[in-house]
Symmetry: C2
Subunit: 191 residues, 2 copies
């Protein structure tokens, strides 16, 4: 929406730094990675790094935001489907393309930060769809936020399991498992 004009050099630098971090996170945990490591890998000068980011953490966050943004754009492109709590099939399909990136976060022990952002985003979708889905006719005997957390956590669990299993299952199979695990539990709380 803004920053339409970014200097080629800046863009290049940011990309190099981001890629370097991801590569390194495939090799060792995030907090064992030093700024110097990133600099060497990206072949970028020290002062340049600090011209773009305040921190290692700052760089990590900006990478996370990129993932979330793409995920967001994707779900928006897919359109609203209020017949489901989550467009889970589409999400699994989309995330399969991001395997390398997701793996980096998990190997790099930065999965909790990813999960946190993820959780925030996915929870919103779930709450929104939950409301739209049932108008005012259906109520729950527990807080919506808890339902949303449950749905999200299950999704994340499946995602992690999928990655550990080297993504052998198809997105369709993952989606089926997800629906089967999650929906019956939720129905138990409808009034």
């Amino acid at each position: 929406m803004e920053a339409a004009k970014e200097d080629r050099r800046s863009k290049r630098t940011r990309q190099l730094l981001g890629n370097a971090l991801v590569e390194l996170m495939l090799e060792k945990p995030f907090d064992e990675i030093t700024v110097q490591d990133i600099l060497d890998r990206a072949d970028i000068g020290r002062s340049t790094f600090y011209a773009h980011y305040t921190d290692k953490e700052n760089l990590l966050m900006s990478e996370i935001e990129r993932v979330i943004y793409q995920l967001d754009a994707y779900t928006r492109a897919v359109g609203e489907q209020t017949h489901l709590l989550l467009p889970s099939l589409e999400l699994f399909r989309h995330l399969r393309e991001q395997r390398r990136l997701l793996q980096a976060f998990i190997w790099g022990r930065a999965s909790d930060m990813l999960t946190r952002s993820f959780q925030g985003r996915v929870s919103k979708i779930v709450e929104h769809n939950l409301l739209a889905l049932m108008g005012d006719t259906v109520k729950f005997s527990v807080p919506l936020s808890l339902i949303a957390d449950f749905v999200t956590a299950t999704f994340m669990t499946l995602l992690r399991w999928w990655l550990d299993d080297e993504m052998r299952s198809t997105p369709e199979q993952m989606d089926e498992m997800f629906q089967k695990l999650v929906m019956p539990g939720i129905h138990a709380f409808m009034l």
Copy 2:
């Protein structure tokens, strides 16, 4: 079972350091806590710290292990109850007593490490009970490890939600929610 004889001084030192860390984690995230902070809070000399622990992380881990150990001892005392996947009611009761400690881990952003250890321990219980519960008569259409992960993740989600909600619900209510959320989903995968 071993190390029955530990010098009073050592024990005291370890306790002071552990408590100091927990106190500090109630105030700020773990990786913003410096060894010096811990030393000041515990009023312990620098070299003494390194005589006991190699690291900040090392100290954290030993605190986590203490929690897990207690949890383990508790569930063992409660006895095996194979009519359930998890002695969840007992766990909720037990964990209510540990509120301060749990809160420290969550506020201190060290919840992922706690969760990891927790997950490992709880998953074993679940897998064990799952097998004992159904002998060879019942099979699942998905790997047991996935079921275990699902159960554990849901438990952890409820636990986190409970803490965020300042533990307003009773252990009994928590247990009921847990059972309702988890069991229907699992039945869907029984063959």
